[in-house]
Symmetry: C2
Subunit: 144 residues, 2 copies
DNA sequence: GAATATTTTAGACTTAGTCTAAATCTAAAA
DNA sequence: TTTTAGATTTAGACTAAGTCTAAAATATTC
């Protein structure tokens, strides 16, 4: 599975500042996870990130990867993307955008924000507020 | 987890006709699965459907539930909804609509079609055609 | 430094979903 | 009717993403 990210790379603010600004206590493990995760815009799974971190000299457990990704998601640093039941993708670009998923190739491609639908508060179910809007357009290769 | 479905109930076309029209060969198991699934509009998981079918006197295996749901989805009779990584929901209403998901209550609520975004073919990645558009708006209960 | 709280860890555990290979069913040919 | 080939169903083994647990490590407060 490849990913195609057309957005600009993450601005290189020190990850420690990034974490602190989001109310996340910095630890050794969180620093190396964040450095690996935010080194570029990417769609990555927990196990891919685990491999990547430990290939970069880290020594981080599976449980910590899951805990940390959950924490980062909760704090708005990453976005969870649910393409299918079998895996969660984490998007290191948490800004407002959505995705095309090519079912033929497995590519996950960023969608420009202008294509995002408009939702009015009044359209939401009574007594609720919007938290996130997730749009996934499944595409397939055009028949030749 | 409850579901809130505001759409009209499925029209009561005989399920056999429904299956045949979608190019699905009718078998005993497929008939009872379809009867259970399409008895009303619902968001249901494979294991819930398995229970329901076998409580209704059916004798259908887990593998057949999965195979059949996959077949129905492929033929456009049901829609798969991916809310989180842990479970796939099957929507017995396959018509064009989308969903609100209340993270506080677990409610999955239908969204009227008018809220669906417009996508132009020219906006899609080169060489691809749209297959499905999945929109899930996560909402939470308004603070009191 | 002692006591307490937070974080990390290995590895057991859960479970949604897939796979396999045998058994059963169906339709059509002979 | 019997044969045959292909499609379907099945039990149960299997896979793997993600969670849980209880202990160890680390940080903070008293």
């Amino acid at each position: 599975m490849t990913t195609n990210l057309h957005n600009a790379p993450h601005k290189k603010k020190p990850v420690e500042q990034m974490l602190t600004e989001h109310g996340i206590f910095v630890t050794t493990q969180r620093r190396i996870i964040a450095e690996t995760l935010f080194s570029r815009n990417q769609h990555i799974t927990a196990d891919q990130l685990l491999d990547l971190v430990n290939k970069n000299g880290g020594r981080v457990s599976k449980a910590t990867i899951y805990n940390t990704l959950g924490l980062f998601a909760e704090k708005g640093l990453v976005r969870e993307i649910h393409i299918n039941a079998s895996k969660t993708f984490y998007d290191s670009n948490a800004s407002r955008h959505h995705h095309f998923f090519n079912v033929d190739t497995g590519d996950l491609i960023d969608m420009k924000e202008r294509l995002v639908p408009l939702f009015l508060q009044s359209d939401l179910p009574d007594g609720t507020v919007m938290e996130t809007a997730d749009v996934v357009i499944r595409v397939r290769n055009q028949a030749p």
